[in-house]
Symmetry: C2
Amino acid sequence: MNRTCYTGEVSKAHLDQTVTLFGWVHRRRDHGGVIFIDLRDRAGLAQVVVDPDNEAAFETAERIRNEYCLRITGLVRLRPAGTTNPDLLSGEVEILCREIEILNASVTPPFQLDDDNLSETTRLTHRVLDLRRPQMQRNLMLRYRVSLVARNYLDALGFIDIETPMLTRSTPEGARDYLVPSRVNPGEFFALPQSPQLFKQMLMVSGFDRYYQITKCFRDEDLRADRQPEFTQIDCETSFLDEVQIREIFEGMVREIYRQVLDVALPDPFPVMGWEEAMRRFGSDKPDLRVKLEFTDVADLMRDVGFKVFAGPANDPACRVVALRVPGGASMPRSEIDAYTQFVGIYGARGLAYIKVNDAASIPDGLQSPIVKNIHADALRALIERTGAQSGDLIFFGADRAKVVADAIGALRVKIGQSEFGRANGLFEPGWKPLWVVDFPMFEYDEGEGRYTAAHHPFTCPKPGHEDLLETDPGKALARAYDMVMNGWEVGGGSERIHRADVQRKVFKALKIDEEEARLKFGFLLDALQYGAPPHGGLAFGLDRLVTLMAGAESIRDVIAFPKTQRAQCLLTQAPSAVDEKQLRELHIRLRQTEAK
Amino acid sequence: MNRTCYTGEVSKAHLDQTVTLFGWVHRRRDHGGVIFIDLRDRAGLAQVVVDPDNEAAFETAERIRNEYCLRITGLVRLRPAGTTNPDLLSGEVEILCREIEILNASVTPPFQLDDDNLSETTRLTHRVLDLRRPQMQRNLMLRYRVSLVARNYLDALGFIDIETPMLTRSTPEGARDYLVPSRVNPGEFFALPQSPQLFKQMLMVSGFDRYYQITKCFRDEDLRADRQPEFTQIDCETSFLDEVQIREIFEGMVREIYRQVLDVALPDPFPVMGWEEAMRRFGSDKPDLRVKLEFTDVADLMRDVGFKVFAGPANDPACRVVALRVPGGASMPRSEIDAYTQFVGIYGARGLAYIKVNDAASIPDGLQSPIVKNIHADALRALIERTGAQSGDLIFFGADRAKVVADAIGALRVKIGQSEFGRANGLFEPGWKPLWVVDFPMFEYDEGEGRYTAAHHPFTCPKPGHEDLLETDPGKALARAYDMVMNGWEVGGGSERIHRADVQRKVFKALKIDEEEARLKFGFLLDALQYGAPPHGGLAFGLDRLVTLMAGAESIRDVIAFPKTQRAQCLLTQAPSAVDEKQLRELHIRLRQTEAK
């Protein structure tokens, strides 16, 4: 017998029709001698009424328990007045059951599907049941629709999906590779791709012009809340376009995704901000623009104050002294300030100085803070003026190495903005705030390794006119790179690539990758660039993150069907697992003695 | 400057318009003081004319060599009469060059792109250039369009794309796994998926109802011409439909793919044939129906003949004696017959008996063969009658264990049909011949292991009424499995799955997988089946094979951008490769002494 429609789609449009539905028993209630079944499928719930008059059906219904799988045939009728459920599409109707078939019974589930307080361990161990929960069904449907809209958008612009290898070459530059021992080539290993970067560049050299792929990437890193060993990128590349044109195409894609999937109109165009400005105003290269708080640099005001915690950094060019004015913050209780002090400690700050501005017109008496007595009145006056602080405000300070200030006060800015206080005091503007961040530095100096490393990756093109800086002053060279930021999350990033072998060699040199190493690791790319490589660029979106954000989920694990835990395990299948000695022998490897018995 | 259109798309529609094109120099010719450039991009070629009047452009054009990457702006005009090229969309027009910009130079390529005799080693080593060849561009475009049509078709029917893990658990049942050592869990390994089979079944149990995924699968097998370590499946699963409904959906998908991509109308519906009939008539479970030759079983006629080579197998129930009548085959030269005799040897046949039917009415004198004298006239007469042989025909014989006969004479059938002789004699009907093969046996007996193994996989549902055979006579049990065959290639296969834990246990038992082993390897599936698992089934298409067939390519390597060789190596990137000792140490493995130094 064929299904008429999804259970969750039964509505007034089906009134007086006989429908056949397949689904699961979400709940069964006996009420006044009648059995009510909430039947559930991927589209939602519908109420089935089994009348005792229908003896066969009623007898079957009496045996039914939660999560039984059923076929139900019945007549759609209006629910009695006062019993409609406006939360359901089917909420105005019910199905008077004519026939029930139990397609499969269920043992009692280990938890109630509508229990919202399940531990993640329980959920991941019983993932098959966890995925039945309407929220998880919605999340994965939303994920599908996001990828579908992206595909259709890209197809219409001539992008074609080309698959690149999963078994690739290990290139230890970058994150840690997952390795795959080769059976046929003893002692050799494939690596799972950290991204299709080099392959997509080679496809551009091959003349495919516009490429995309929604594909798995792999990084064997220590896992954080928003990381998985395998994750999915919408990976794109195009030839012959500059970064402005590329940004236009891909912000268009994200706008289209939001429009079709969430019915949200994102700004057109997205705002664009230089990396330097983002770091200066927000201490972050992915600022959450929903938060209405900004840094004010005040090092120049603090050079001659008695408060060494400020004066020291103020006189050190590697440091910053910034003020973060919090409008209305003077009312913040001491306990909250203490909590923030602890919080910035996570980011390496050794304390959190603050001034409560009780009366902005009366300096220094109107300012309340342990540090005020060590800062002369001129500095205080200039501070109040420059931050624009009003009576009733609070000013936090960061004074440390520039990176510590950016990380600590940048995180504090977001924390305060998103807090209850922030929301109540208009410091947080809900909604969607996309932003392009551009003009990144080419390189970051790695103190540990004593050399520059690529800020994006070593195939990123320097800005026009910055090629010479690669040799003379690498730290000053800017890149033709762009990150797409949404509400403080980096959802995508990319760059115009180097398409000339001589420029690529210069970048390798700046990164202290010598000719031999470059040839060994990236010889195939340098080769490819010799044969009339076109100007090209592209970007990659983190699909997991984008969907997490759009779904309002707490973790990317909530938008992945079968994710790994933070110990990189699958609790459902118990992967990874021990394997047979025979398998290891075939792969020409053995376990290390220290770990293996 | 923006591109007006692809180079290969310039046509009479652009007449008298100024166009801007990006592309590569396919060929440059100097002719009568004028320079002609065949400019190439992914859409094709167009002819650019550079006149010496335009000094700047002409000076640039003189420096141009093959595979330079150019931007060209010019006026579209008609080619002079008599110089049009009907093979090109742009063949009636040419572009009078106004401006040339060299976007990137090229060193001399290691081969001519239009050389059709390149070795595969050359092509794979220089894959980036090889992919510029128009044929490879067409193949990958066709591949993209196939996957796009499949996606759109499935989307319209409510199938949703859900990603399943690449890092999964090793289940040694089946082919050899690729393993990935875990760094976080010492001594443990992930496996790359051989298919998403169990995950898609669990998604059905989770209620997603209709799933698909175009995804990579991995098998570490010894490679043959049509195998790759990683390959791509269009993997599908649906709940609540029986195998007839499932076949209808998926033959519809393939019909739609052929219609949209090749403009070919496949039959509606596809013919369906039982496995037993396919083996009986064609000796193959994937018969090429373009070949108009069939087996005739003649064991019953040969039981009492003097020719032991026939009489022996004719009296052995594990053997078959079949005749393959080749209309017109009596004219086949001896050398061709000898070649076929060698050919069937590959499949284990110890010889190839034949009879030339010079005069079908005169028995035995009209029959020419070394074996005729040892077969009595009654048998010969019955043979001629049953095979329907006419004067001028040839009859080949297979007499051996049933599998050897099927393999050898089945392959011979295809070989003859596809040969020049077969094509010339109407034994081969060109075109597209799809077929569903159904009613497969559940199990095959593995002599080596002394147990039954799953013919499809151990999750395949037995036919209704065959459940008891699982215990009483497993060899007789038929499966609700179906393979889609196209022109002799298995392009897809699937089955109705087991959705009840008790039936799944019976199948494991028939496979001699004991309770403990079943729980260890497939416990998560048995668990899932307990919670109201719906009836479900699906199938998987081999995308590489389907596209190879549709593209008329010689190898699946011609429809994969970056394939591996038959030694599982990537000649472009030199993967697999040796890795650092540090990487191995982090993964808690070491190389075996015998191989490592």
